[in-house]
Amino acid sequence: MTPVELDSGNTAWILTSAALVLLMTPGLALFYGGQARSKNVLNMMMMVFGTLATVGVLWVLFGYSVAFGTDVGAGLLGNPVEFFGLSSMLTPEAQTDGLPDLAFVAFQGMFAILTTGLIAGAAADRMKFNTWMVFTLLWATLVYFPVAHWVFDLDNGWIAAGLGALDFAGGTAVHINAGVAALVLCIFLGKRRGWPREAMRPHNLTMVMLGAGMLWFGWFGFNAGSAGSAGWEASYAFVNTIAATAAAIVGWLIVEQIRDGKPTSLGAASGIVAGLVAITPACASVSPIGAMIIGVIAGVACAYAVGLKFKLGFDDSFDVVGVHLVGGVIGTLMIGLLATEVAPDGANGLFYGGGFSQLGIQAIAALAVIVYCAVVTAIIVGILKATMGLRIDDDSEATGIDEGEHAESGYDFSSLRGGSSLGSSHSALSAPTQVSATAGKES
């Protein structure tokens, strides 16, 4: 490739987008953490933050190479050693169309982290933290990186290039993928003690709403950054990311008003996420009106889909399946109906005279990711269950996983702990009896 001058505008936008997508991970931690009970909030947030560590390291080592290295055949996998440690791309000449390859590495790395973090919402309150961390390493390596190659390597990936499916920012690779993994993980984990008989109310809905707002903010990087440049295509995806999300809030709240009698704050926050998920694959393929149709359908459908776990009996604690899997499938399939050639990443869907072909392609793409992810995730989780074990012990779960797995508590509202001898004391400054608090954890 002949070297071209760097495009500073595009580079600035992609780096900004990468930072925006990074912010989605702490946003997700707040969104899930607020839905947890107060005794479990830190573990929930640590599961999400943990992916920043594990997947971040893998991405630099070989993750990028598996996803975007030279195709080893049939669009299934990139060469895992080509960009190992990124050392072969550390020159100013390593750029594509004026965008430094390292900017693309940063941007796509944030996707890998967030996708893995999404799964945590199904595993609340009860999973060994060490097992979770090993799970994220294995899942990112064996599921996310290859599927990202299928979907995001537009020149080689078998879904993007071979099949011709439209998935602009990851309806399949991100949301269907995380949703299926969440379903498999929560089935292997089993239900939380007392679920669904015991009330497990969200402990802080203001956190949930702040998290949803941060997710939406970061999602502009996710969707509009996926244009790879700072022009019309990015603006197009940006506007659709507003249109669909707004419509999804309306859809979710109307369902609640009619079905439950009251529109709720958790419903509004959930509607935001459902709309964002559904428009992710479609944001550069449909018109803004089409985006609002996708949004309102996702809002309504997900508001009902989150009830499935009670009927079917799987403890998907914070509805990763009901929102990400269902929303991802809706967005991916509706491209087949509402895609228009006028859009930057367009093709004519069924409603624009394109017939059923695009819809069929979209369905194959969705199904392929569902099957691959379900099988490989089941193998990973099955092995972890037999070796490290998945569940914390019953006592820890009853007391709260924050204390059991992290020796911390999220909140200190008790004035007794502020200085009285009844509360805490510094173990280094007091009698050896204090050590028993930590010794119990090992046994």
Binding site: A199, R259, D260, A303, Y304, D319
Partner: protein, 112 residues
């Protein structure tokens, strides 16, 4: 001496405190508590899943007083806390054997 204990709705606390101050009550202990009486709880809905919340937030006031003032304290609380709706609460009186002021060691009515 008597201990007057009252369970009231949280939002009437300021009014009750004012009424007791006007009576000359010099101190009280207030705690946030939860419970239910005939009012029972209420229902909350999260993502379509209904939870019944059995225990309603209330405020408990405890005042130790002279035998002679106990009735006035009870009346003041009951009148101030009354909204006429279900869930207004209860007030009861129990005998207190003795009271000690920690700082000085005074006992009995002098310690109030």
């Amino acid at each position: 001496m008597k201990m007057v204990t009252a369970i009231i709705k949280p939002f009437v606390l300021e009014d009750v405190k004012g009424a007791l101050e006007r009576l000359g009550v010099l101190g009280m202990t207030v705690s946030e508590v939860q419970g239910y009486g005939r009012q029972k709880g209420h229902t909350e809905v999260y993502r379509g899943a209904e939870y019944s919340v059995d225990f309603v937030p209330k405020v408990r006031i405890e005042v130790v007083t002279d035998d002679s003032a106990a009735d006035k304290v009870v009346d003041a609380i009951a009148e101030t806390a009354r909204t006429g709706k279900i869930g207004d609460g209860k007030v009861w009186v129990t005998p207190v054997e003795t009271v000690v002021r920690v700082r000085t060691g005074e006992r009995g009515a002098d310690a109030l």
